[in-house]
Symmetry: C2
Subunit: 207 residues, 2 copies
Amino acid sequence: MGMMRCAVLASGRGSDFQAVCDAVALGTCPVDLVRLITDNPSAQAIERAERAGVLVTVVDPASYPDRAAHDAALTMAMVDSGAELFVLAGYMRLLSPETVRTFAGRVINIHPALLPAFPGLRAPAQAIEHGVRVSGCTVHFVNEEMDNGPIILQSCVPVLDDDDPGTLAARILDEEHRILPEAIRLFAEGRLACDGRRVRILPPATG
Amino acid sequence: MGMMRCAVLASGRGSDFQAVCDAVALGTCPVDLVRLITDNPSAQAIERAERAGVLVTVVDPASYPDRAAHDAALTMAMVDSGAELFVLAGYMRLLSPETVRTFAGRVINIHPALLPAFPGLRAPAQAIEHGVRVSGCTVHFVNEEMDNGPIILQSCVPVLDDDDPGTLAARILDEEHRILPEAIRLFAEGRLACDGRRVRILPPATG
């Protein structure tokens, strides 16, 4: 029996994607990384994928007449990847409701705040502007509302008096790199059980 | 020069109030606890105050014809206490906008969640129902919106798979007992500087 097939969607630098690649290489994240899917033909994540030997599919909105056509192409690329788990790791577009329904329970996202606080864009800047003392990151299942699905893992970091959005984002990113591969591992091991909005972590299988 | 005079407002069990009494007795919270003010004539906090030698004022809503009269009596009791700092420690009523304005910048509240997540009542139950993995508590300045003022200190605790609102509330309460006296100390030492919504903690005075 092979490992679970996993695809990552990313739009930019790809440091979360790199953390997943590294964990897979180290053997601490037992999945087969079958595809990087990006909407951005110049994403730095593409070079990282090539270095890690992961196939890349670019689904560039500029190549499609409208949002619906791009959404359909993205869904097609996800189906084509053969992945059983899809990880949004800095993917800067909302999936369409149809895409979410197509892969229900098989898409997870990482967000740089302790949801439900600070959903949406610029989460570290939002946290700084609100004046919180604690922030962090959240890995959650994706549902049809933005940054709203059942929470799998969270980790918190302090916000310091002299932080700006960049220094806070960097501190949060270190935790993202830790909990994202961990969440993928739990999913791949079949250890996440949804009970309404609550996600329970089952003990490892024995024997 | 005497210590800063501090009054605590509480409605119930008074365990946060007790933590403040204990820190004052230990010398780690340099204030003069001049009054416990409560809206509840059977609050257990009253016995704690008597044991600690703190004067008690009961401002029972049942003794007033309407909300405005009770608000006015509460403001009067706060003025009469002579306190320079007022600490809401499980005080279950909203202060009126007039009361907040009268004591602007001199009222702090402790809330059992990582604000801005889960304001209002039943915060630990809200956290459980939302399925977060991390919650905590917040000490903040009180403004005219509920659970909204500038944040002084926060502390986080894990939410465990088998938590119910009671077990989570107990874990949060341990952190409340730690950060509430600490926030009072910082206020009393003149070390809290508001910069819009952000509160900066100044270094201790030297010499």
